[in-house]
């Protein structure tokens, strides 16, 4: 969705029809802005030599926030991937938590500085620890959902992956399992058209990830990931479906990739300037702002206020994380097993 299309989609009642209050959509915008600013900060810190590596999700924030919004932040489970920064923020992680990870500090709740940045996890808000091998999280999520089902906890599980990751056998196996047991689970695929440098047509036969769901007997929905409210709408439907016991949903969000794959990559080497520019025009931070302006909830002043709040939070978190101690060398042996 471009700016022009975004404008065309402004109808005053849109978010209300979806059951979202004015405060809800303002909060959603705040999270998009927060995630983006945090993201920008991480790249600045990396370029300044304060961080070794960044992998983040510019362009993916809108769909993540739309998808996570219906979830119960305390009760439900999230099994993220490395681009899930916005989703993790909504789920309950803080900029501090994320920057403690970036700086690999002892206090980093994801891994105590053991993993690369971007490998989120947080037991307090039921975000399962992320690893690097792409695809492995899908069976984990299905297992969590199976446990919810037979333990009758009423939890819903959401997991996320890139479209490239859907090529993995594990993704198929997990969707097959989830379909068999009609699990309360939402599979999110954030399709940014690339797996590092590999374009969609060399990764996804048929070009349509959502279409795969039909083969497992559950619905698959493809949505413009820069249309935050539409992302929310399909996610709410998927959530209700899971809650009702009607089984899984596969959500494919078509999102812009606004940056290189990671700080180790230069996308200019394999993407044209035109294509990169076209993606920029689909930035959810912009399209959602246009919506809020259109329905009269956002203006210059409000924008400044949010930007200010976000900056303060991130400055504070950066300072905190920066001052926080590194792990002790000898702690490397710890937690191999439970009692050690």
């Amino acid at each position: 969705m471009s700016a022009m299309e975004a404008k065309a989609r402004v109808t005053p009642a849109r978010h209300k029809t979806l059951g979202l209050s004015d405060q809800d959509v303002l909060d959603m915008y705040y999270y998009i802005a927060l995630a983006r600013a945090l993201d920008d900060r991480m790249w600045v810190l990396q370029r300044a030599g304060k961080a070794m590596f960044v992998i983040s999700g510019p362009g993916h924030e809108g769909c993540q926030i739309g998808a996570m919004w219906p979830m119960d932040k305390k009760h439900d489970w999230f099994v993220p991937f490395y681009r899930s920064i916005a989703a993790c923020l909504v789920k309950g992680m803080t900029p501090r938590d994320i920057l403690l990870g970036l700086f690999a500090r002892a206090e980093d709740p994801s891994s105590g500085g053991r993993q690369m940045p971007g490998h989120y996890g947080h037991p307090g808000v039921k975000i399962l620890s992320t690893s690097s091998p792409v695809g492995t999280q899908f069976p984990h999520a299905a297992g969590i959902a199976y446990a919810s089902k037979i333990r009758k906890t009423g939890e819903v599980t959401m997991t996320a992956i890139g479209e490239g990751g859907t090529s993995q056998g594990d993704v198929h196996e997990a969707m097959n399992w989830a379909g068999i047991y009609k699990l309360p689970i939402i599979f999110v695929v954030e399709n940014n058209m690339y797996a590092i440098s590999v374009p969609l047509h060399k990764q996804v036969a048929g070009g349509n990830v959502a279409a795969r769901a039909a083969g497992y007997g559950f619905p698959g929905v493809a949505t413009d990931g820069s249309d935050v409210l539409e992302c929310y709408r399909v996610s709410k439907e998927a959530y209700d479906r899971a809650k009702r016991g009607d089984g899984p949903t596969l959500l494919e969000f078509r999102v812009p990739r606004l940056g290189s794959h990671s700080s180790d990559d230069q996308q200019e080497r394999y993407r044209s300037k035109d294509e990169i520019d076209a993606d920029r025009r689909r930035d959810p931070l912009q399209t959602f702002r246009i919506y809020l302006e259109g329905v009269g909830l956002m203006d210059e002043g409000k924008l400044k206020e949010i930007a200010g709040r976000v900056k303060r939070e991130i400055d504070e978190a950066t300072d905190y994380a920066d001052r926080s101690p590194l792990p002790e060398p000898e702690s490397g042996v710890r937690h191999l097993f439970h009692d050690e």
């Binding site: 489970w77 099994v79 980093d108 709740p109 994801s110 891994s111 105590g112 053991r114 993993q115 490998h119 996890g121 947080h122 037991p123 399962l128 620890s129 690893s131 690097s132 091998p133 492995t136 899908f138 069976p139 984990h140 999520a141 299905a142 297992g143 969590i144 959902a145 199976y146 446990a147 919810s148 037979i150 333990r151 939890e155 056998g169 594990d170 196996e173 997990a174 097959n176 399992w177 068999i180 710890r334 937690h335 191999l336 097993f337 439970h338 009692d339």
Partner: protein, 327 residues
């Protein structure tokens, strides 16, 4: 106390743990209505229902991966792989995920999963139903590996594995299922993960073995006893973590070590035992540490003459004992 077959001891441990703790579930191909292709899960489906006794799709990576997720959400899954030869698709989930969950999350999440699987050669098991896989998994930090050799240990170690807060690979040499019988207490007991045990005392040399090789070794020790060679036989039982103390104590007594394993020799598990002895019992040794192991071909061939060519039998072990004793 009853005399049970090895397979029945495993089955009994399942039944008792299922009754004791409702978080315990078992999952795998044909573990449900059929009760497992070897019968390890017989009777569970009718008694505990299909929610907890789960016939899975034919997809090992997800058997492991889903078990990991279940464990993260309050269950204690036993993931059965029908044959150890077919655990390989799950290698990534076991090595990269199960074994690392606690370490990578700095103790935030654990992974109390038992990976159970029948391994090793029996008659006619051929290239793809006979593999020894312990080497691959014993090398994985974060994973415990046990190989019980008696019905008593089979039951007690399975209980220990189920109750362990970390992932345990539980390996059953399939040749023992119906051949090996032994006394098994009816009630609850646990054999701790870790300690090895001396199965036969001796003073001329020490044999280190596990699984089916323990039984062949015990018979070989019996054979050479008639020739006056007193072989000590140590059952390693737990391969990771390794009980070095018991090993070193035995070598300190006998001054000679023979390591017997059915797996391919090269970079096989026995190399670690040999290297440990070489490094830590150097001055105790009166002879080179010796290994007797499976030939370095991709598996046990089917045809009888080839199968016999592959197997490590009591005769071959006795031959090695004589050689080592004569050094």
């Amino acid at each position: 106390m009853a005399e049970l077959r090895y397979i029945d001891a495993i089955n009994q441990a399942h039944h008792e743990e299922f009754a004791r703790d409702e978080r315990v579930v078992v999952m795998g191909e044909d573990v449900g209505r059929k009760g497992g292709v070897f019968g390890a899960t017989m009777g569970l489906f009718d008694k505990f229902g299909e929610d907890r006794v789960i016939d899975t799709p034919l997809a090992e990576s997800s058997i492991a991966g889903i078990a990991i997720g279940m464990a993260a959400n309050g269950l204690l899954p036993i993931a059965e792989f029908q044959f150890a030869d077919f655990i390989h698709p799950a290698f990534n989930q076991i090595v990269s995920e199960a074994a690392r969950m606690r370490y990578r999350s700095n103790n935030a999440f654990g992974c109390p999963v038992v990976f159970r699987t029948p391994y090793g050669g029996s008659h006619g098991t051929a290239l793809y139903h006979s593999q020894s896989i312990e080497t691959y998994y014993a090398h994985v930090p974060g994973l415990k590996v046990v190989t019980p050799s008696t019905p008593y240990d089979a039951k007690g170690l399975l209980k220990a594995a189920i109750r362990d807060p970390d992932p345990v690979m539980y390996l059953e040499h399939k040749r023992m299922y119906r051949l090996i019988k032994g006394e098994v207490p009816d009630g609850d007991y646990v054999v701790p993960i870790g300690p090895a045990v001396v199965r036969r005392e001796g003073r001329d040399l020490s044999i280190f073995a596990y699984g089916w090789m323990l039984h062949e070794s015990l018979q070989a020790a019996e054979m050479v006893a008639k020739e006056g060679i007193k072989a000590e036989v140590v059952d390693l039982r737990t391969l990771a973590p390794l009980d070095k103390d018991t090993i070193l104590k035995s070598v300190a007594k006998t001054n000679r070590a023979l390591i017997v394993y059915e797996d391919n020799r090269f970079v096989g598990y026995g190399a670690e035992v040999a290297a440990t002895i070489a490094e830590e019992a150097f001055s105790d040794l009166d002879a080179p540490v010796m290994r007797l192991a499976g030939p370095d071909v991709p598996g046990i061939p089917f045809s009888k003459p080839l199968e016999e060519w592959f197997y490590i039998t009591k005769d071959k072990i006795a031959e090695s004992i004589r050689k080592l004793a004569a050094y």
